[in-house]
């Protein structure tokens, strides 16, 4: 079944790097979307849900932590998996965002192997 991916990060460069790393990991997505912050992501998800969201933590307008809570309120995204991608790696943050409904956490800097390891179980 075709899978879809959304990358949410306020840095356009980082969105391109994540997209490139996902490609290098060997994972295939039929449809990919991008958003520059949580509010833009929510707007796009309202019209067209995705299977996987890769989401930064620190962003303007709406933080990634807030986006996780909002996505979990959407019936249309009940099956969407959310993986946070951030330089922030405190236990408090990871525990909090996982409790709010995130499905995984990838630290920056990252490798294609890390994406493969974290995303494969979520899309199989």
């Amino acid at each position: 079944m075709a899978k879809s991916l959304m990358i949410v990060d306020d840095s356009a460069t980082m969105r391109k790097i994540i997209m490139r790393t996902v490609r290098m990991s060997g994972l295939k997505f039929e449809r990919t979307e991008e958003a520059g912050n949580g509010a833009e992501a929510l707007q796009k998800l309202g019209g067209s849900p995705v299977d996987i969201i890769l989401c930064d933590v620190n962003m303007p307008e709406m933080m990634g932590t807030e986006l996780v809570k909002k996505v979990r309120e959407l019936d249309s995204c009940a099956n969407t998996k959310i993986v946070m991608v951030s330089t922030e790696s405190s236990k408090e943050l990871i525990d909090g965002v996982m409790a709010d409904g995130a499905n995984g956490f990838i630290n920056k800097p990252f490798t294609p192997e890390k994406f493969q390891e974290k995303l494969s179980p979520l899309i199989d």
Partner: protein
């Protein structure tokens, strides 16, 4: 108070991790402490607060910054890369090196809250801020081709 050797090691190791993993470039500490960055340069900086507070910065020349951006984006250095993309790439490198340094210092100074990075461009950007007792500077060679400097200005924070 944390010692400067510990901070210097965290800075160099953090930078090596980011450059090795995401930028595919080798970094070695320079044997020339007086090395200068000539011409147009970029300075990426990020502040942190907690038991230790201050600023971490990366300074490198324009051509070095362009090569870093090209490698991060999977492009060739001769490809057209916009100034915005180069600035954005240096901001991300700054953010990731700070994240890597923070992880290395976590057991020593506890959690640090980090800001969003900023990048400025200029000529003859000099490291003139801060007292030498509260400043760590690591001068490096990137791929034996480019000079760059990693800096930490710090003081004991209020927690």
């Amino acid at each position: 108070m944390i010692d400067q050797v510990c901070l210097s090691d965290a800075l160099l190791e953090g930078a090596k991790e980011v450059f090795g993993t995401m930028i595919f470039m080798d970094i070695e500490e320079s044997s020339e402490p007086d090395q200068q960055i000539e011409g147009d340069a970029l300075l990426g900086s990020i502040t942190f607060m907690g038991d230790l507070e201050g600023c971490m910065a990366i300074c490198c020349g324009d051509s070095c910054a362009k090569t870093i951006a090209a490698n991060m984006l999977g492009m060739e250095p001769d490809d057209q890369i916009s100034r915005d993309d180069i600035n954005d790439a240096i901001g991300e490198v700054t953010n990731m090196v700070m994240g890597s340094v923070k992880a290395r210092l976590n057991g020593t100074v506890g959690n640090l809250n980090v800001s969003i990075p900023t990048v400025v461009r200029g000529q003859k950007i000099e490291n003139s801020l801060g007292d030498p007792e509260n400043k760590v500077s690591v001068k490096v060679n990137i791929e034996d081709e480019y000079a760059a400097e990693f800096l930490l200005l710090y003081r004991e924070g209020s927690g």
